[in-house]
């Protein structure tokens, strides 16, 4: 990387060859006004706000697209540039129908801010008053073409970060409009994933989210707090805007982040909406058909009194949420596992989680980290989805897959028993008869690929290289009950791939052997990343990985026998499974601690304890992004809501025990590795 030196506004600025003038300026703290530019998206120089003067060049150059050169002398603040930028702004105002007084984004609008900063107190050009439409067909997202400045940020984020490529441009010049799916209305689009990324990056009031427009503008908010989304295993970082103690909107972080600062439809809508749900505000004890309010002391000593006899008979259990933070899970584990030595402790997603734990364990004991950060999918040239539906399970992972395939041309293979989760962009789709895929198939495939790799160092001639393995591939196909040609195609893709990655869905975890077999294929096809094996396990919730080595049971116990006491902690964000509810219902005495009045769970409770909601807690999550991420308190809890450590300490006192604090946080074990992934050995039973 060659270092270059530029003079920008008289300041010596150093950069690297290949960087644009704008990038060098930003690195050196020189501010150049921009509008269409967003870090992380392809710069297109559409708005002309970032123009600069370069000495010995008669033209004004857009700094976002002009490569910086050694020795360049750049001016960014001359009167000529200021007037030119102001002219650009006036033309933008005259071209479409920007009327700030009835725009929901006034105050948040970048066009407005720039115009005011450039002293635009009138517009010298006649307005066009062209009659553009307002596309309000989407239930959540509104697209008002009247306010569009054609910066194409929405189109770029949709294509480059979400990978949906729903939005594009139609027509030319001033008649150009952003359009969904080759001319459909946004609400009719087949490809839109309703993530709201387009609205998040829109600099004007063109694309707005109804929910947020009514809750308030960013500029009206008192605070913006960073935290982590609890709704799926990705754990996207986001910024929550707070206005008078309530959350008005959530937005992803910068577009330069690996995830492009996107949130999925779940995080975008469910998080702010959940702040309006009915809360459990005080401890309550069942009284006939209803409840009566109680003090914490009374409620907890009642719980302790009911717990003791059940515990002594071995008929007490605890069912916990893996949306709890590491700290909360450590408390639970300290109380129920270390303190009380209870067997019957588990998480709601225990069954899926156990499948992954057991399936990945043979590799973990080798000292290898058997998974990689989810965003490494973006670096992969061959993605294999195994029994996964990422758009449902972890939508941002689906974005990674789409972007890798559509933008970078990665191959996409799907192995499952059902539908292809990425219809239209999948290269090879193997669907197997039955309800679960057979691990034997994956193991046979792994063996074949491993021997292919051993025999053929140059995989460029994949087809010919496959010849001697026709038979074993045909056997794989027989096991799978599928066409041998398709299996050959998969093998050919995998031996040619430089960095394959395997996305394992929750369905794969129904059988731990399937997980192990899929990892075997990953090892055979050399899916090695710096941080671990090229496997992305789609565990269920925000902190499933943290739950894996704290409270997750080694075997399933819920429903095996009717219990006398069950403590249930639910964050109320994910609906409970029917069979679990049935088991809870059959328990004689149920304590439910939850932030929300979650039905039907609260109806089953004999004692109801309030808990802080997701935005009232802090702590850490172990995410499949391979990071320990921090949750912050966005709005402090009100009233009788108490933190979990206070409640559990009091309960422990009533039970006459103390809570053991673990020396190592749950994440450290999850992310640990002693051995490079390339040293991993296949595990074939």
């Amino acid at each position: 990387m060659k270092e270059i030196i530029l003079t920008i506004d008289g300041k010596q600025c150093s950069g690297v060859a290949g960087e644009t003038i704008l990038e060098v300026a930003q690195k050196n703290e020189v501010t150049i006004p921009t509008m269409c530019y967003l870090k992380g998206l392809t710069p297109i120089g559409a708005c002309r706000m970032c123009v600069v003067e370069v000495e010995k060049n008669p033209k004004l150059l857009t700094s976002c697209t002009t490569p910086a050169q050694d020795g360049m002398v750049v001016h960014t603040t001359t009167e000529k540039l200021f007037n030119y930028r102001k002219q650009v702004l006036e033309l933008l105002f005259a071209g479409r129908n920007h009327f700030c007084m009835y725009c929901s984004q006034s105050g948040d609008c970048e066009l407005q801010r720039q115009a005011i900063e450039h002293g635009m107190d009138s517009v010298r050009y006649p307005y066009l008053y062209a009659d553009f439409s307002n596309d309000a067909t989407h239930p959540e997202i509104q697209l008002d073409h009247n306010r569009c400045i054609l910066c194409l940020r929405c189109i770029r984020i949709c294509a480059e970060k979400v990978g949906a490529h729903t939005l594009d441009l139609q027509k030319r010049g001033w008649n150009a409009t952003v359009v969904a799916d080759l001319g459909k209305k946004l609400g009719e689009s087949d490809t839109c994933v309703s993530c709201g990324a387009c609205a998040q990056v829109c600099p004007t009031g063109t694309i707005t989210l109804r929910e947020f427009a009514y809750r308030g503008k960013r500029s009206q908010c008192d605070d913006a707090v960073e935290s982590v989304c609890p709704l799926c295993s990705v754990g996207c970082r986001f910024k929550a805007y707070v206005r008078t103690g309530s959350i008005t909107r959530v937005e992803g972080l910068g577009t330069e982040e690996p995830d492009g600062g996107q949130l999925c439809h779940k995080g975008r809508w469910w998080l702010p909406q959940s702040t309006e749900r009915d809360r459990v505000t005080v401890p309550m004890i069942r009284d006939g058909a209803g409840y009566r309010e109680a003090s914490w002391d009374e409620a907890l000593s009642f719980v302790a009194a009911k717990f003791k006899p059940a515990y002594e008979r071995g008929k007490a259990g605890a069912l916990l949420s893996s949306l709890c933070t590491d700290e909360e899970l450590s408390l639970f584990s300290g109380l129920f596992r270390s303190g009380l030595k209870m067997e019957k402790v588990d998480t709601f997603d225990g069954d899926v989680l156990r499948g992954f734990i057991k399936g990945l364990d043979p590799f973990r004991v080798q000292g290898v980290r058997p998974f990689t950060a989810a965003h490494h999918i973006l670096d992969s040239d061959c993605i294999v989805t195994v029994c996964a539906d990422p758009q449902e399970e972890a939508p941002v992972v689906a974005s990674y897959v789409r972007v890798a395939v559509l933008r970078d041309g990665a191959k996409l293979l799907n192995i499952s028993c059902g539908e292809d989760p990425f219809k239209g962009i999948t290269d090879v789709h193997v669907t197997m008869p039955g309800k679960a895929i057979r691990p034997e198939f994956l193991n046979a495939l792994a063996k074949t690929i491993a021997s292919l790799h051993l025999s053929e160092s140059d995989t460029g001639t994949a087809r010919e290289a496959l010849e001697p393995y026709r038979e074993s591939l045909a056997q794989c196909a027989t096991i799978a009950g599928t066409d041998p040609k398709v299996v050959e195609e998969i093998a050919a893709c995998l031996i040619q791939a430089k960095k394959p990655v395997f996305v394992l869905g929750g369905c794969a975890a129904k059988n731990p052997d399937t997980v192990t077999a899929a990892v075997n294929v990953a090892i055979a096809s050399r899916a090695f990343f710096d941080d671990g094996l090229g496997v992305v396990p789609l565990v269920t919730s925000g902190n499933s990985l943290g739950a894996a080595n704290t409270v997750c049971a080694s075997e399933s116990w819920l429903g095996e026998e009717d219990l006398e006491f069950l403590y249930v902690f639910s964050t109320g964000l994910i609906p409970e499974d029917e069979t679990m509810l049935a088991s809870i219902f059959r328990t004689r005495f149920v304590v439910v601690q939850t932030p929300y009045l979650v039905h039907p769970l609260v109806n089953m409770a004999d004692v109801l304890l309030p808990a802080p909601a997701w935005y009232e807690r802090s702590g850490h999550y172990c995410t499949i992004e391979g990071e320990r991420r921090r949750l912050n308190v966005i709005v402090p809890p009100k009233g009788e809501v108490r933190g979990l450590s206070t409640v559990l300490d009091d309960l422990a006192k009533d039970l006459g025990i103390s809570i053991e604090r673990p020396a190592v946080p749950p994440c450290e074990a999850v992310f640990a590795s002693r051995v490079a992934p390339s040293a991993a050995q296949m595990v074939l039973k």
């Binding site: 006034s106 005011i116 008053y129």
Partner: protein, 179 residues
């Protein structure tokens, strides 16, 4: 020192800008020490007199408004445009997407809440609509623009104070607003 003479006129707009002017509150008492408001919706005056500062609040939407704007321009030394309507056209521009006849039909016969079985549209006794509602500077030269819907009282006062000091001010970014 003689007091500066001021005239303000309310054209196609709501009363917001003049309300914002009154929001100067107790400082209005200091201001009228230095100025005479000779013509304004808030004082009684029949014709626009010769003044030092003329103020137009509102866009131009009909012939009478164009006439008043021109008269104001002729009779003042410095012309100030108050508010988004005068500066940009403002909310009046909502009608610019329809021809004027349609606008009248929409207003007097077509709206659901209107009862007008004879479909009477006022005509000769009202000034004719311009083809489009326009900002004042499409017809007269404007010296000071104060955008805002409405502009803050502080900004309105600041502009008067600057003019009284003998300057023709330009609203700085920290005082400017469009909403």
């Amino acid at each position: 020192m003689a007091k500066a003479k001021i005239a303000t006129v309310w054209l196609e707009a709501c009363a917001g800008c003049h309300m914002s002017f009154l929001d100067i509150d107790e400082r209005l008492a200091d201001l009228v020490e230095k100025v005479d408001i000779l013509y304004s919706p808030v004082v009684d005056g029949k014709d626009i007199p010769q003044v030092d500062v003329g103020v137009i609040d509102g866009a131009l939407g009909n012939e009478e408004e164009v006439h008043l704007a021109k008269e104001m321009r002729e009779r003042c030394k410095i012309l100030v445009g108050w508010g988004d309507c005068a500066v940009f056209g403002g909310i009046n521009c909502m009608r610019n997407f329809l021809p004027p006849e349609k606008v009248l039909e929409e207003a007097y016969t077509d709206t659901k809440s209107t009862v007008n079985p004879e479909k009477v549209i006022p005509g000769e006794d009202l000034p004719a609509l311009l083809p489009k509602a326009i900002p004042i500077d499409h017809v007269v030269k404007c010296d000071v623009y104060i955008p805002g819907c409405p502009p803050d009282a502080d900004t309105i006062l600041w502009v008067f104070q600057e003019i009284l000091e003998g300057r023709v001010p330009k609203v700085p970014a920290n005082m400017m607003r469009y909403d």
